[in-house]
């Protein structure tokens, strides 16, 4: 090659400054990404560390005792654990048919697309309303409105322990209903997304062999989208278990265990919100123990949700 041309088109070597910027940028973003892991681990470590006193003092007895007495220093979280599990599962049972039904309604070709989009956006905007505002609404509007109906149930079915106390305001049932409102958008939007991802070929094939609309939905569309729907339901369960403000405002905050869904109760998160500010000594440690239980519960649900989405997801191209 001609020497003149060669000197004209020499390879540009990277200056050290450019290499330095490149390397340090990579280190910075790695550090940022690691922050997630560090925060997650330290949340567990701190909550565990703060609760060691109660863990060693009560052990597993803590889970099955409903004593909560700062005077005698005797603590047990059974009422709160039962309240957390019962309210979240009950709200899930109500929200699943509503949410999945809505998702089907707005993904199927039943009404014009314009109206479907409006319904979809409205359900998603419901998720944007802060929990404390829903709590305010529940305390002043919803609970007074539903109380007469709950009273009728109490008068008719009061002999069943689940309805065994008179509804007098705050209690488990209004808390369940407000939780339904809070988790409905999650179930609906995730179900909607996974229903939308089912290829139209499957639907056309089902219609082609003479299946009716709902046979197609139940036998073809829902099974194909079940992984996403299950994932959404589990995420909603995790959210319901950890939901704090609306529940704290409406559940009545009482540590007395009762089978009745009309009686005031507690969830772990409402117990934390209610007592953590004024707690000291071994009460803090017991509250931290309860927080640890809540974290483990939500962690299990979330990990299971991620696992099930991976496990069940059918890949359609």
């Amino acid at each position: 090659m001609d020497k003149a041309i060669k000197s004209k088109f020499s390879l540009r070597t990277r200056p050290t400054s450019e290499k330095l910027v490149d390397a340090s940028f990579k280190n910075i973003v790695v550090a940022m990404a690691s922050m997630v892991a560090i925060v997650l681990f330290s949340i567990f470590a701190v909550v565990y560390y703060e609760s060691t006193e109660s863990i060693s003092r009560y052990g597993l007895r803590f889970l099955f005792s409903s004593a909560w007495n700062p005077v005698t220093d005797e603590y047990g979280a059974f009422t709160a654990i039962y309240g957390t599990l019962f309210t979240s599962i009950a709200s899930l049972l109500i929200a699943i048919p509503l949410g999945v039904g809505t998702a089907i309604f707005i993904t199927e070709n039943i009404i014009p697309e314009y109206i479907r989009n409006v319904i979809g956006i409205m359900v998603e905007l419901l998720a944007a309303i802060p929990s404390v505002v829903l709590g305010l609404w529940a305390v002043f509007i919803m609970e007074p409105f539903i109380r007469p109906f709950l009273n009728i149930i109490y008068e008719l079915f009061g002999f069943i322990p689940f309805f065994g106390t008179q509804p007098l305001g705050a209690g488990m049932m209004p808390a369940i209903l407000i939780l339904v409102v809070m988790i409905l958008p999650i179930i609906t939007s995730i179900s909607k997304d996974s229903l939308n991802q089912v290829p139209s070929k499957l639907r056309q094939a089902a219609y082609g062999i003479g299946a009716s609309r709902w046979t197609t939905i139940f036998k073809v569309i829902i099974p194909a989208a079940i992984s996403g729907i299950t994932g959404g339901v589990l995420l909603a369960l995790g959210r319901a278990m950890g939901e704090t403000m609306a529940v704290t405002m409406i559940i009545g905050n009482s540590n007395n265990f009762s089978w009745s869904i009309f009686a005031p109760s507690y969830t772990i998160s409402s117990m934390l919100a209610n007592q953590f500010g004024e707690a000291d000594g071994s009460q803090v440690s017991s509250l931290m123990y309860a927080a640890l239980i809540l974290m483990i519960l939500t962690l299990l649900v979330n990990v299971f949700a991620q696992w099930i989405v991976k496990r069940l997801s059918l890949k359609y191209q």
């Binding site: 973003v29 892991a37 949340i43 409205m122 419901l126 704090t244 953590f276 809540l294």
Partner: protein, 302 residues
Amino acid sequence: MNYTSQKSLTYNPSLTRNIGNKALTIASALFAIISVLPLILVISYVLIKGGSYINLDTLILEPEPPGDDLLSAGGIGPAITGTFIMSVIASIISIPVGVGGGIYLAEYSKSGKFAKFIRFGSNVLAGVPSIIAGVFIYAIIVSTKILFGSMFSGIAGGISLSILMVPTIIKTTDEALKLVPNDMRRAAFGVGASKFTMITNITLPAAFSSISTGVLLALARAAGETAPLIFTALFSRYYITSFDDLFYEMGSLSVLIYNFALEPYEAQNQLAWAASFILVVVLLSLNILSRWIGTLGAFSKK
């Protein structure tokens, strides 16, 4: 063999399957109506009831202590500025961490073990109940007085809100950058750009609108959160007047709603409704704005 059948091919509405179909369609429509109902009810109550208590005084004045004056409860001014300040603090922390983490996941380690672990961890962090974030910050910042000896402070509140924002921002940044076509990266490398230049000048601008959507959604969620604030920022009835006030208790709209909704006084309850009005209007606008920005990007999900 004879395959002909005498059944009619026209639609027969009295067939069991057609009746069942219709019933299920009506049921699903009913479910959709029930699902939309709470939104309409909550929003209309907040807008009508809350809106009726809004005037210049409520927006500017400091709230009165409950029970002092039965007719007026003052205003929500300090709570508005408090929510704003803590959202800004939370954004200052969470945007660099979230966008940086997202860049790492999407640009440096697409499917490495560490990246998988970070994605998993970010999903788990997103599922951690918000009150746990409050408990955590209480334990490491408030009770240890690590911030120059101050206990409850606006800064502690902002930090606990940032924990809730990071997972959303990481996830949206990661997904937004993945939607940028690889051709653009190769083209940038082809003309001799370094990786840093490629990311800051090519892929980040291309993904900008989707990332902003994620940031705004995260902000809208954090600004309405109460649980992480009730024992980190606590509540204050006063405006902040100097930089030092960031290290003291700070009021916020959400904690004001929580505190005043449970007061037995009518005037305080009205203030809670007024605060809900402001909070809901701001958060819904943020949500709608973020949706609109999300549709602007060249590579956003349509």
